[in-house]
Amino acid sequence: MRPVDFIRWVLKALWMQKVRTSLTILGFAIGITAMVTLSSLGEGLRQFVLEEFTQFGSHIVAINPGKTETFGMAGILNTTRPLSLQDAIALERVAGVEKMVPLVSGTAQSKVLGRSRYTNVYGVGHDASEAWRMPVAQGNFLPNESLETPRAFAVLGHDLKQELFGNEPALGRYVHVGGARFRVIGVILPKGDFMGADLDDAIYIPANRALQMFNRESLMEVDIFYSPAVATEVIVERIKKMLISRHGFEDFTITTQDEMLKTMDNILRILKYAGAGLGAISLLVGGVGIATILMITVTERTAEVGLLRALGCTRAQVRNMFLGEAITLGLLGGIAGVFVVVLLVITVAHLIPKLPIALSMDIVIAALLVSMLIGLVAGVNPALRATRLSPIDALRAE
């Protein structure tokens, strides 16, 4: 039997029972659709979060005071081992460091004649604008001057400027933040959220002024942006050496972007596969469907099997034909399901561009392989049944 004949036989057998075949494929396709859609949602979320994190580039390390794992609260808590502004200044001189952003954050009230608003306050340095990709819309960002004796300048986020000044010009005006007076020298272009914090409804002041305002000795974090030419391990080693020489021992935590991304990626990957797993339940039911239908088919076609065997088909050939039918059913269901998902993803991308949904090739391929596999598994029992029939009995079955 030539392969072409084999395929033709399989397709014809399926074609003869249009309703039955299409219902089986429908059931299976629903399962595949569920599985691929859910994992696409997971993948979309993963890409969205990773993009959020890599938008500032990937050569970043963050340094927090204290050497405990405190669920990302490291810098916020008090510490007996401060990471001082002087440490930050020293870090800027480490070879390979391109930009350094010291960070102190808190909340305070910003007041302008008659208007006021409580928002987040970020104490940062000159490099923050470039490093965090927050270009100014008007004026300038904080000037590149001594971190220890900065002038009382403030830069407003886009929303905060609207709240305090409306459409009037804000540059050159004074704003009282937590009781101290600052001159507005810039307004930032709308930037959006980062990890739940609204960067537009915030005010940016020099780090040292923020330390004074919040009565703290320690920065909450220092972000180091290093040259791509330097390996991560090297820069981490240099930072460690520098800080240990200043503090005497290792009382800080260094988090590299790579590590963070890796942890995050792992978590999000689990989410993606969990989605696929949930969808796979329906696929399992679809698999049971294929098995049931094939079982019936074999019983119905006993006579046909007898004839094939009488004509000289071997047991293996008969088995392969039925297995072929099973795999084809699974594969057709898989293709139909993937097709529906592709339509769905395209529609969603057009209608709700904000919803992160992304088809990942590995899931599509996995879905098709799994559908063939399920078809195969479902087909084994019926196919063996067909081979066990003796040709004479089978022929007589009619």
């Binding site: 859910l38 669920f71 914090a197 339940i281």
Partner: protein, 403 residues
């Protein structure tokens, strides 16, 4: 035809096609079990969070220093604000009649060492009310002294894990430890098993709040916890608290109040939605099972053409035939659903034996909804095949001919 006759009739058909019946039961029961199990998972998560919160004691109000007017923003977790929330504020709020307990909290990281053993730990400066509010106690020794608000005494209470790491099985109470740049005497060990939201109570060191002020050189409280009288009107207390703070903070309301109820409510909403969503995903399996039922019923109708002809010939009405086929799938789905529910309950039971902390439970609506959904699917998907059977012309059907 009596109902009991129909049962007998269907039963015989099931027995005739044992394997086919088994596979269909399997499909339906997977669908039903998936719905029940997945919703149990969601409900389990909800109950877990519920239990975590209730370990915090009831009627709790948490005060964050600072305020954020950004819409949809989270509470000011930084805890940094130009005007500090202080121990004096906490004493003033304690005077409110509706307030049962006040626990001021200063949190920081410090190095804690005994001899050559040293660890960086979360240090909580607070008063004895902190443990009471969390419904915990000290197993060995004493809790923090009464005057923790006023006097910076050099004493500390260790979490159970910290005690084991620093002292092993030696006696810790009465010994000296070095915390930051000071020496303090251990006066007690916190009871084990206090995993509370956001803080592992076994892995902390507690010191008097006044000591923490000196240790971290800052009078600023990180949080302030108020436990209200059970009869207190929360909204009214919130207004009073804000009024007192305004008076003490030169007319500014620079704090954020979060009630435990609102937190719990938020979590509950999220988790309930999640439960519904994964339940719905599980129900897709039922849909697939429905398609299978339709397929099999269609086959069954065409195979039993002659039988239907005979039934009609001896006086069965179209309606009876339809009822017969619908009844067959209902019975099948019913059995499948029962099997699915049984499997799900067994699995839930086992998981609860294995992980008692995570109380997996099917929500009250899950089982009835799953069973009814399965039944409805069964009827919907066998309606077409049953109608087809009912429409058969008796004469042609008896001859086994197509129409």
């Amino acid at each position: 035809m009596l109902l009991i006759d129909q049962f007998h009739f269907n039963w015989r058909i099931f027995k005739r096609h044992r394997l086919r019946t088994f596979l269909m039961l399997l499909a339906v029961s997977i669908g039903v079990a998936a719905v029940v199990l997945l919703t149990s998972l969601g409900e389990g998560a909800r109950r877990y969070v519920d239990a975590e919160f209730s370990s915090l004691g009831s009627n709790l109000v948490i005060i964050f220093p600072g305020r954020n007017e950004t819409t949809g923003g989270h509470p000011p977790i930084f805890g940094t604000s130009p005007r500090d929330l202080t121990i004096e504020d906490s004493i003033a709020l304690g005077h409110l009649s509706a307030v049962r307990r006040v626990a001021p909290i200063i949190v920081g990281t410090t190095n804690v060492s005994v001899g050559s053993l040293s660890r960086d730990l979360i240090t909580v400066g607070t008063t004895r009310e902190f443990l009471d509010v969390r419904d915990m106690s000290v197993t060995i020794g004493k809790t923090l002294p009464d005057d923790a608000r006023e006097i910076a005494s050099a004493v500390c209470v260790l979490g159970s894990k910290v005690k084991h790491e620093l002292f092993g099985s030696r006696k810790a109470v009465g010994e000296w430890v070095r915390i930051g740049d000071r020496r303090m005497r251990v006066i007690g060990i916190i009871e084990e098993g206090g995993q509370s939201i956001g803080m592992d109570m076994a892995d902390i060191v507690m010191v008097p709040v006044q000591t923490a002020v000196q240790l971290f050189n800052s009078p600023a409280l990180f949080r302030l916890m108020l436990e209200l009288q059970t009869t207190a009107d929360v909204e009214r207390v919130k207004r009073r608290v804000l009024a007192i703070i305004r008076e003490r903070h030169e007319g500014e309301e620079d704090i954020t109040l979060v009630t435990q109820d609102s937190l719990l409510q938020a979590f509950n909403n999220i988790l309930s939605t999640l439960t519904l969503a994964i339940g719905a995903i599980g129900a897709i399996g039922l849909l697939v099972a429905g398609v299978l039922i339709m397929n099999i019923s269609l086959i069954s109708v065409s195979q039993r053409r002659q039988e239907i002809g005979l039934l009609k010939a001896i006086g069965g009405s179209s309606r009876q035939i339809r009822a017969l086929f619908l009844g067959e799938s209902l019975m099948m789905v019913g059995m499948g659903a029962l099997a699915g529910v049984a499997v799900a309950i067994a699995l839930v039971f086992f998981s609860r034996q294995l992980w008692p902390v995570f109380p997996m439970t099917p929500p009250s609506w899950a089982i009835p909804v799953a069973v009814i959904l399965a039944m409805v699917t069964g009827v919907l998907f066998s309606w077409l095949p049953a109608s087809r059977a009912a429409r058969l012309d008796p004469v042609l059907a008896l001859r086994g001919q197509q129409q």
